[in-house]
Amino acid sequence: MTNSLRAPYDGVVIAAPVTIPYVRYSIESAQWWIGRALSALVAQAGIKASDIDGMCVSSFTMGTDSGVGLTQHFGLCVRWLDTIPLGGASAIAGLRKAARAVQARDADIVACIAGDTNHVDSFRLTLENFSRFNQDAVYPYGAGGANSSFALIARNYMRTFGVTREDVGRIAVAQRTNALCNPHALMKTPLTMEQYLAARPISDPIHLFDCVMPCAGAEAFLVMREETATSLALPAVRLLSTIERHNAFADDPMQVRGGWAMDVGELYAMAGVKPDDLDVVQTYDDYPVITMMQFEDLGFCRKGEGAAFVRQHDLTIDGDFPHNTSGGQLSVGQAGAAGAYLGLVEGLRQVLGTAGPTQVGNASLALASGFGMINYDRGLASGAAIFAGPSR
């Protein structure tokens, strides 16, 4: 299986990036948040709900509902439907499936939506019921949830490559700077390196500002063929390439790389671009150390050089490597599965030039990545996409 066998995403575009502003706790249901996102998609695209003939949904808190229940709930009649439970990789995976669906004309307009609510106890319940391996062999061990699992990965990674907390902290501090430009970010006060280092430990070496804040919210976009977008007079983003991988490097005793490292060559080859060409990068930042890993695995530096990379670059909106320009999950909040969409949706706005206060000047080429499902001892799912705005 070589790259040349993959069909290009010719004629596939993405439009109408939508964010329903997050709140820390919500008494509304996940279905409410998803409904708001659908409504916003229809309004922003200037279409009728009945024009949507494909839907792809991701959520942790829909209870017993899946995508099909939502069709009746929202009065949709679709001919293509998917429910993607891939956590932080859901946006990339959803985009890939929707792209092929519209390309093959199985559907014309696919709404890709992720939304979750956050009741006072939802986060604990999500942790408790995450997966079978997690239930059997992780959660009963201190019930630290993802914090403890990533703490083990972070500790091993930091020790193996000589990474300090300060190195990792640069990512979090830069994202907070970006978040201060985003009126919808839940974190609204500046974060200094001193504050980052002095934060309370959660699960060593993970401290408070290494963690995302669980919240409620929704994100969405539409996938369609270029001619559909043109007929609707919708500004659209061209999809250039994607990768997706699950359970990569299973023989590594501990995770020091994600599945991106397996497929990164193909990602750039399919898009016909180099890492240096990118104007904006949106990584999956459930923990800053995972972002550092992505800088290596997505080809911005070599394995073990992530710390040096962040020392040498300015990751803010105005910096030389604009990264997670909305503030990312670390500063905006993690609205469940919508966290997977956050970077991609912000990336779409960047290349469309509609990012407003977080806009990077002249951004036309972007990368967004996803990472998810710490089923047992490592994150299993990884993905990435490169896309270009109308100006490119």
Binding site: A137, G145, S203, Y376
Partner: protein, 413 residues
């Protein structure tokens, strides 16, 4: 290096007793292969019958060759601690109250990596020895110990959650008239129990070994006839709030099955002592024990039953007695479930014929009462749920597993 735990101070009566919470309970059905092993103190992993590779966590198919024949087999316990972390603000009540809680990822020499609770003396990058333990929810968890012995090892805070160590705890041995009860009292006291209350029924009747118990420091004789509802309730009213471990040594052995006995009076005595006695003890002492499962160093911790292995398979020579033991075994499972909310363990010790007067004509091997006493202590220290003491008990267990019908025929002699 762990500092030894200190004897608990007297309780401050102005403070509310902390109620027990339990660690996360749900497990897949397959995962209970570990529960079964942990109950007996064995360390097992799944191994593929086709390709021989070890797997963890519990799976339904081999991750190397997809064969569905994964069996739980004894596995090498050695591994290496790859990384550790200390959970400081868990979202779960049980762990939040016990935070900081230390866990780690262990690469086993035989292949799999295991997330495990860590003994405080485990060092990152060093070898560890793995065991399966039952946590307060009664579910199996992996526990990593340092490879060698370290000072005050059993006093480790996390380890003590996995055990019912008698150290500093107060124990009620229900029947001090029996040799087993006397040996158990002495052994528990030697294991660091603060006080061993020893029940004596009909104190107006002298009994052999009485002088061993009287006047011993830390051993207190109390009036207790398990079969007498009121006496049991009265004793619980006195000491129920400070019984941390209850060792049910009720003993009523009489030979005979059905046809060679006349009437039901002996059977009634068997039921009175063993079965109704169990109920009286449980009703009187169980509720307070269930409340006190998280009451500090000397929290309530365990209930021990000494049962005949013939509870599992009837021995017609002692047929009615076997049946009374089977009834108690069944009751113990109910008790285990009912004490679960308190995190209180129920340990059953199965023995073959004991070297006491009622098995006088039974040929050896017989179990020495002292061996039972030692097993009680080691079982409590190891946090076990099921023990088979002596060669006969172990043999019956294996023969039952191999072919219950063959065992039934062979016991009929």
């Amino acid at each position: 290096m762990i500092d030894p735990i200190k004897p608990p101070r007297r309780k401050n009566p102005l403070l509310r007793t902390r109620l027990p919470a339990l660690p996360p309970r749900p497990r897949s059905r397959t995962s209970h292969g570990f529960t079964r092993a942990a109950a007996e103190g064995r360390f097992v992993l799944q191994r593929c019958e086709a390709c021989g590779c070890f797997a963890y966590p519990a799976r339904e198919a081999c991750p190397s060759c997809l064969f569905d024949g994964l069996t739980f087999v004894e596995a090498p316990r050695r591994g290496m601690l790859l990384a550790e972390t200390t959970a400081r603000v868990p979202s779960d009540v049980y762990f939040r109250e016990r935070a900081p809680w230390r866990i780690g990822l262990v690469k086993m020499d035989c292949g799999p990596t295991i997330v495990a609770h860590l003994h405080a003396d485990c060092v990152e990058g060093a070898a560890v020895r793995m065991s399966l333990q039952l946590d307060k929810s009664g579910q199996a968890v992996a526990f990593a110990h340092p490879e060698g012995e370290t000072a005050n090892m059993a006093d480790d805070k996390q380890w003590r959650e996995m055990t019912a160590d008698p150290k500093f705890r107060r124990v009620l041995v229900t029947n001090g008239r029996s040799v087993i009860g006397q040996e158990a009292a002495v052994a528990l006291r030697a294991a660091g129990a603060k006080t061993v209350f020893v029940g004596v029924a009909e104190p107006w009747r002298p009994f052999a070994g009485e002088n061993l118990l009287r006047g011993q420091d830390g051993i207190e004789i109390v009036t207790l006839d398990a079969a007498d509802e009121k006496v049991v309730a009265d004793l619980a009213a006195d000491i129920g709030g400070k019984v941390d471990i209850l060792v049910n040594t009720t003993e009523y052995v009489r030979p005979g099955g059905l046809l060679d006995r006349r009437g039901t009076s002996i059977a009634r005595d068997e039921i009175d002592q063993a079965y109704l006695g169990f109920i009286n003890l449980a009703q009187a002492f169980g509720p307070a024990m269930r409340m006190r499962g998280a009451d500090g160093i000397n929290s309530s911790a365990a209930w021990v039953n000494i049962l005949s292995v013939y509870a599992l398979a009837n021995w017609p020579a002692f047929g009615a007695y076997s049946a009374s033991q089977a009834a108690c075994l069944s009751l113990s499972h109910s008790l285990r479930a009912e004490l679960r909310p308190g995190g209180v363990r129920v340990m059953n010790l199965f023995t073959g014929p004991v070297d006491t007067e009622w098995f006088q004509t039974v040929p050896p091997p017989k179990v020495a009462p002292r061996a039972i006493a030692q097993a009680i202590v080691s079982g409590l220290k190891g946090g076990l749920e099921e023990m088979y003491v002596g060669d006969v008990a172990e043999e019956i267990r294996q023969r039952l597993a191999a072919n219950p019908k063959a065992l039934e025929r062979e016991l009929d002699r």
